[in-house]
C-alpha cells in the first residue's frame, strides 16, 4: 500500500508546486495521474520514487519492490552504444537477485529478435518496450510509469496498454501511471488522480469521463 498524506512540495521554498496531496494506492490498484503540462504530475512521481524530498507531509510506502519506466527515453542520446540485452543485463546485475530470465521478459514484449540491436536503432515504441522490459525484470509489486505512450506509434501504444492491463488484472501488479492519454487512463485505471495547479482530486474513471464531456475539456471537479 502507498499512502500519501498532506504532501507539499516546492522548489527552494518559493512556490508550492504541489499542495496538500492526499491519496492511497491499495495493492493491485491502477491509478492514472492526469493533469495539464506543468501541473506537477511528474514531480509527484519523483517524490514517490524518493528522487526528491517533500517540503512537508508523508509518503508511507509498504511496496517492497518498485520499478520505474521513465518518460525521457525519447530524450536519450540515440548514439549511446548499448544493446537491448546490455540494458537489461546491467539492470539485472545491479538488482543482484530476484530477477526474471532476460529471454522470458524479451519474449513477453516481443523483443527477442531485437536483443542485440542498439537502443538508438529501435523505434520509439520498441524503445519504450525495452524500458518496460527492464522494469518487469525485477518482478516489481509497484510499477511506476511516466507517460508511457508519449511519442510512440498507435500499434505499440495499444500493445503497451494491453500489457499493463494484463499485468494489473492477472498478476495483481499495482500501477501508478502519469498519463496524458485520457482514453487509456479511463479505460484501464481503477482510479484517476487529477492534478490542477498543484491541487489533486481523486475520482472514478467513469465519473471523470462524464464530467469531462459535460465540461467540454473545462474545469473538472470529481
Amino acid at each position: 500500500m502507498l499512502k500519501i498524506d498532506h504532501l507539499y512540495f516546492s522548489y527552494n521554498n518559493v512556490k508550492n508546486l504541489l499542495t496538500d496531496i492526499n491519496f492511497t494506492l491499495n495493492d493491485g490498484e491502477y491509478i492514472s495521474i492526469i493533469g495539464s503540462n506543468g501541473s506537477g504530475k511528474s514531480t509527484l512521481i519523483r517524490l514517490i520514487l524518493k528522487l526528491i524530498e517533500p517540503t512537508d507531509g508523508t509518503i508511507n510506502n509498504t511496496f517492497k519492490n518498485m520499478a520505474y519506466v521513465p518518460q525521457r527515453f525519447n530524450q536519450l542520446n540515440i548514439h549511446f552504444p548499448i544493446t537491448v540485452r546490455e540494458v537489461l543485463a546491467s539492470y539485472k546485475k545491479v538488482r543482484h537477485n530476484g530477477c526474471q530470465d532476460i529471454s522470458e521478459v524479451l519474449n513477453l514484449l516481443n523483443l527477442k529478435e531485437k536483443e542485440q540491436t542498439l537502443i538508438g536503432q529501435l523505434s520509439g515504441g520498441q524503445c519504450q518496450k525495452v524500458f518496460i522490459a527492464r522494469a518487469l525484470l525485477g518482478n516489481p509489486d509497484l510499477l511506476v510509469l511516466d507517460e508511457p505512450s508519449n511519442g510512440i506509434d498507435v500499434k505499440s501504444r495499444d500493445e503497451i496498454y494491453e500489457l499493463l492491463a494484463n499485468l494489473n488484472k492477472s498478476k495483481k501488479m499495482s500501477i501508478i501511471c502519469v498519463e496524458h492519454n485520457l482514453q487509456a487512463a479511463v479505460k484501464n485505471s481503477t482510479l484517476l488522480y487529477h492534478i490542477k495547479k498543484g491541487h489533486g482530486h481523486m475520482c472514478l474513471p467513469e465519473r471523470y469521463a462524464q464530467e469531462y464531456i459535460k465540461n467540454d475539456l473545462g474545469d473538472i471537479k470529481c
Binding site: 520505474y68 521513465p70 552504444p81 548499448i82 546490455e86 546491467s90 539492470y91 545491479v94 525485477g138
Partner: protein, 272 residues
C-alpha cells in the same frame, strides 16, 4: 631499441596505460566529460610540484592531489548541473595556479618539458611499479563495477531507483580517473593526455557497436596509437606525447573514412 632499459620501461608502462586510458575514457566520453582528462592533467602538474617540494614520489603525490580535485569535480557536479563545463574551468584555474606558483617561485626545480610533452627517457623502474599497482587495482575495480558504471552512464536516475549505490560509485570512479591521469602523464605528457582518453573511444564509437565491443575496439585503437607513437618517437627523437596525439587523430580519420566507404557501398548496392 629494446636493449635499452628506458625503452623496456616505456613499453611496460605503455602496456598498462594503453588499456586503462580508453576504459576510463569510455565512461568519461559518454558522460560528456571528455575534457576532464585535460583539467586533471593540469591538476597533476600541481601534484607533481607538491610532491617534489615534499620530496615524495611524483606519481604518488600526483595521484593524491588529482584524486582530491577529481572528488571536488564530482561534488560540484550537483551544484552546476546546467553549466557542468564550468566546473572543469574552476578546477583547471585553481590547479594550474598552484603549479605555476610553485614552479615559478623557484621552490621546485622540474624538467617542465618532459612533464608537458611526455618522455620515455626519464621513465624509471620505480615509475613502472607505481603504474602496475594503480593499473591492476583500477582495471579490477572497473571490471567489478562494470554493470553499475554502464547503468549509471546510460541512466543515472534509473540506477538510483534500481538500488545502485550511485554516489559511492561516482566518487570511486573519480578516484579511478585520478589514478589513470597520474600514471599516464609520464609517457604522454600533460598537454596530450586528453587524446589518449578520448580519441580511441571517439574512433570506436564510429563503428556503432555494443557497449562492450566499443570498449574493446577503443582498447585496440589505444594500443595502436601508443605503441606506434613510442616507436616513432624513438626513431624521430621527439616527445612521445605529440606523436601519440597525431597518431590518434590519423587513426580516427581512417575509421571515419572506412565508415564513409562502407555506407557509400551499402547505398550503391541498394540503388542497384
Amino acid at each position: 631499441m629494446l636493449e635499452y632499459s628506458f625503452m623496456q620501461n616505456a613499453f611496460l608502462i605503455s602496456f598498462f596505460i594503453a588499456a586503462l586510458c580508453p576504459v576510463i575514457g569510455m565512461f568519461l566520453v559518454l558522460r560528456r566529460y571528455s575534457m576532464m582528462g585535460d583539467t586533471l592533467s593540469h591538476a597533476s602538474l600541481a601534484g607533481i610540484s607538491i610532491g617534489m617540494l615534499a620530496n615524495q614520489n611524483p606519481v604518488l603525490s600526483s595521484f593524491i592531489v588529482v584524486s582530491m580535485f577529481s572528488i571536488i569535480i564530482e561534488w560540484l557536479r550537483k551544484h552546476f548541473r546546467t553549466y557542468a563545463e564550468l566546473i572543469l574551468v574552476i578546477v583547471l584555474s585553481l590547479s594550474i595556479g598552484i603549479a605555476i606558483t610553485l614552479l615559478s617561485s623557484g621552490l621546485v626545480h622540474a624538467n617542465i618539458d618532459s612533464l608537458m610533452f611526455g618522455s620515455i627517457l626519464t621513465v624509471t623502474k620505480s615509475d613502472f611499479y607505481w603504474v602496475l599497482f594503480f593499473s591492476v587495482i583500477s582495471l579490477f575495480l572497473v571490471y567489478r563495477y562494470y554493470a553499475e558504471l554502464m547503468f549509471i552512464v546510460f541512466d543515472e536516475e534509473g540506477a538510483v531507483i534500481a538500488g545502485a549505490n550511485v554516489k559511492l560509485i561516482n566518487y570511486l570512479f573519480a578516484v579511478l580517473v585520478a589514478a589513470t591521469i597520474s600514471i599516464s602523464i609520464r609517457i604522454v605528457g600533460i598537454l596530450v593526455i586528453s587524446s589518449l582518453i578520448a580519441l580511441p573511444i571517439a574512433a570506436s564509437l564510429q563503428l556503432e557497436k555494443s557497449f562492450k565491443q566499443t570498449l574493446w575496439y577503443g582498447i585496440l585503437f589505444s594500443y595502436i596509437d601508443i605503441f606506434s607513437g613510442i616507436v616513432l618517437s624513438y626513431w624521430l627523437d621527439a616527445a612521445p606525447g605529440g606523436i601519440i596525439a597525431i597518431n590518434s587523430v590519423i587513426l580516427l580519420l581512417i575509421v571515419l573514412f572506412y565508415k564513409h566507404k562502407i555506407r557509400s557501398n551499402k547505398k550503391r548496392i541498394i540503388q542497384e
